[in-house]
Amino acid sequence: MAQQEAPVAYEKYYVPDQSPWPIVGAVALFLIAVGAGNFTIEMTKGKEGFGGYTLAAGLFLLMVMLVGWFKNQIDESMSGLYSAQLGRSYRQGMLWFIFSEVMFFAAFFGALFYARMIAIPWLGGASNNAMTNEVLWPGFEAMWPLVSTPGGIQTQAMGWMGLPAINTVILLISSVTLHYAHVGLEQAKRKQLTVMLGVTILLGCIFLGLQVQEYVHAYRDLGLTLQSGIYGNTFFLLTGFHGLHVTLGTIILIVLFFRVLKGHFTPKEHFAFQAGSWYWHFVDVVWVMLFFFVYIL
């Protein structure tokens, strides 16, 4: 019971005192949601309003919150409040968060597979849907990439050679360099750590730059846009959300870089670094899946 002396060795779990940051974060998310909702309406329906400003205010507040919360967190960690058990909590929490991200991407991959394997063949008359094709969409032919939709939208497909292939190589290398940065951290080789981490960040930025170029190419040369039917939809949502994750991952790595320079991590204790690198490897794996299913097949 609570009053008794513990007979076995246990670790003291750090339960923080009250903190103002979560509620600040809640207000931030509120502003972001209201702002994004209204901004969407205003942007697409040509209305006037405060949506954009609300969204911007929310994002700003979220940044303030993150800085404040993390600073708090780093201070606690640096003053030795944390135990191995707490470290396990953070690690497990991060892994489950990544699992939730996997499921988020799974929804869009699911849409891609459903469209390719079921919706489009059926529209083309496959299975017992001959009349769907005859009556509703006469002349429509099932194909992938869907460069000509039943409704008549025309576009061109994005090949996998060139930029996408280069980007794949870049991300794969970045995973390796990040791994060696981690090894450097664990073996207390500072130089290897900073150089490899720096290279990883650079590769991330190059990837993002090339991705922007690819989008420009898609919009300008191929006529492949977000509105180009299910092929364009899945292409832009999958690569877009992936790009967003790479952006976030790069920012995380940059923050880690500065913390490395400040000497925050030790060969044994570096949860933040570990989490950041897990995140980066996850984003890489998603890209490999993307390259395979969105570009090649």
Binding site: P16, A26, A33, A106, P150, I230
Partner: protein, 535 residues
């Protein structure tokens, strides 16, 4: 009881005024709290308020349906009421109530000082009221709030919806973030914070069922986020995910939604199974029959719940093989569900039973949830569902499993643990009134829905054929009575929070076993700063 954490915490924490002993005062206590008991209380009150708000909308629905013809509200507003009622009850009442119970109970049951990630815990609660503020305010947007049903099928939510859809989408995103963070916290707490000796197979079943629920939440809430995102881009940014003209498919929406939706209904019932498995042994004064089989049954229900989603879509024209697969897979789930009901009954067999209020609710749960399970089994038979789909029979089914199932279990839980939380016995007379009024009215409310459903009355329509008039009158009367009965509960809860009533012992109930019954009543603000000894 000097706390170990406090000593460690001193040097870094002197910036904050408070110390670990008691609860800080004032509004800041609730806004800044990192205490699992405070956060549990917040969740529970929030859920109850949402229950009343969503209930008020149900009253509007039943008032309109009291007589055939259109009399009180516009059809479009009627649709907004059914939609927002469903969303509020699912995401605002049942789920937060279970999360509140998890917060209060899991650390006490496994001998942990708090949840593993206390600050995130606060965050995941406080974003919820904001999410519902957005959802409710969307009712006042030009063109009205969401009116496409809680299932927001495309093209209702894309082609035919109003501007407020954007607000709906982002409020659902926030609810999802909240659930995912809450679930991560629960899993990590259970994996990592059990007191030494609290092995997996010693964990109370409420903890087990919540562990599995949390896994389901992390697996499917992101899929819901994906679904609302596609609705958003389809409606506002010109994509064609759910539009055949662009190569998409409205039926694809249903696949994605129900891939989330079916596990979601288990998210709303597994913790209930856990609660009932705690309460029945206490008042039967016997150990739970078949503990291990309960654990395995819960796990198999959770796994199977991923492969049955299309039983909601039998009438969409899927290929025969798919219809057959989803029919048999769905029926398979009744096996582990049956195991559970069997175990509860076997626990009571030859027990020394007493009928305190939590036990009354638990018994009502077993009987009435089983009725809901049986109508579910009927709906799972594909050719039969062709007839029943989208009628009041489905409404009857899911209200039996959700109201007399999930909601009754929550009430049972509140009555069971409330004395532990407040240190005083609740007003038993009021509680019995609450139970009997609820029990009778809920059956007047939902049982006739089976009949009108079988006779073909469609759901989500503000008017109906004359032949359904008599039954609908009774349904509405039952509805108002059930709504009013909940005000008794409100009165009881207010009394309990004002510390009225007799003091209770640490064990509270004669047959209660488990760590939470060994600590003082009311449970101190911080428990288990030093891990307890598990026998």
């Amino acid at each position: 009881m000097s706390t170990a954490t406090e000593h460690v915490g001193h040097d870094a924490e002197h910036a904050h005024g408070e110390h670990h002993h008691g609860a800080p005062a004032g509004i800041k206590r609730w806004l800044f709290t990192t205490n699992h008991k405070d956060i549990g209380t917040l969740y529970l009150w929030f859920a109850f308020i949402m229950f009343l708000v969503g209930g008020a909308m149900a009253m509007v629905i039943r008032a309109e349906l009291f007589q055939p013809g259109l009399q009180i509200v516009e059809p479009n507003f009627f649709n907004q009421m059914t939609t927002v009622h469903g969303l509020i009850m699912v995401f605002g009442a049942v789920m937060p109530a279970f999360t509140g119970l998890a917060n209060w109970l899991i650390p006490m049951m496994i001998g942990a000082p708090d949840m593993a990630l206390p600050r995130m815990n606060n965050w995941s609660f406080w974003i919820l009221p904001f999410a519902f503020l957005i959802l409710l305010s969307s009712l006042f947007v030009e063109g009205g709030g969401p009116a496409f049903g809680w299932t927001f099928y495309a093209p209702l939510s894309t082609t035919y919806s109003g501007d407020s859809t954007a607000l709906f989408v982002f409020s659902v995103h926030i609810m999802g973030i909240s659930s995912i963070m809450g679930a991560i916290n629960v899993i990590v707490t259970i994996f990592n914070m059990r007191a030494p000796g609290m092995t997996w197979m010693k964990m109370p079943l409420f903890v087990w069922t919540w562990l599995i629920t949390a896994f389901l939440l992390i697996a499917v809430m992101p899929v819901l986020a994906g679904a609302v995102t596609m609705v958003l881009t389809d409606k506002f940014f010109g994509t064609h995910f759910f539009d055949a003209a662009g190569g998409g498919d409205p039926v694809m929406f249903q696949h994605i939604f129900w891939f989330f939706g079916h596990p979601e209904v288990y998210i709303m019932i597994l913790p209930a199974f856990g609660i009932i498995s705690q309460i029945i042994p206490t008042f039967a004064r016997k150990r739970l029959f078949g503990y291990a089989s309960m654990v395995y049954a819960t796990a198999s229900i959770a796994l199977l719940s991923f492969i049955v989603w299309a039983h909601h879509m039998f009438t969409t024209g899927m290929p025969l093989a798919a219809e057959m697969f989803f029919m048999f897979a769905t029926m398979l789930i009744s096996v582990p569900t049956g195991v559970k009901v069997f175990n509860w009954v076997a626990t009571m067999w030859r027990g020394s039973m007493t009928f305190e209020v939590p036990m009354l609710f638990a018994l009502a749960f077993i009987v009435l949830f089983t009725i809901g399970g049986l109508s579910g089994l009927m709906l799972a038979i594909t050719p039969v569902d062709f007839q029943y789909h989208d009628t009041y029979f489905v409404v009857a089914h899911f209200h039996y499993v959700l109201v007399t199932g999930a909601v009754f279990s929550i009430m049972a839980a509140v009555y069971y643990w409330l004395p532990k939380w407040t240190g005083r016995m609740f007003d038993i007379t009021l509680a019995k009134w609450h139970f009997w009024c609820s029990l009778i009215s809920v059956n007047v409310l939902f049982f006739p829905m089976h009949f009108v459903g079988l006779a073909g009355m469609p759901r989500r329509i503000p008017d109906y054929a004359l032949q359904f008039a008599d039954f609908n009158k009774w349904i509405s009367i039952g509805g108002f009575a059930f709504g009013l009965s909940q005000l008794i509960f409100l009165a009881l809860l207010i009394k309990a929070c004002r510390h009225q009533g007799e003091k209770v012992s640490d064990q509270v109930w004669e047959g209660a076993e488990g760590l939470e019954w060994e600590i003082p009543s009311p449970a101190p603000y911080h428990t288990f700063d030093t891990p307890p000894v598990i026998k």
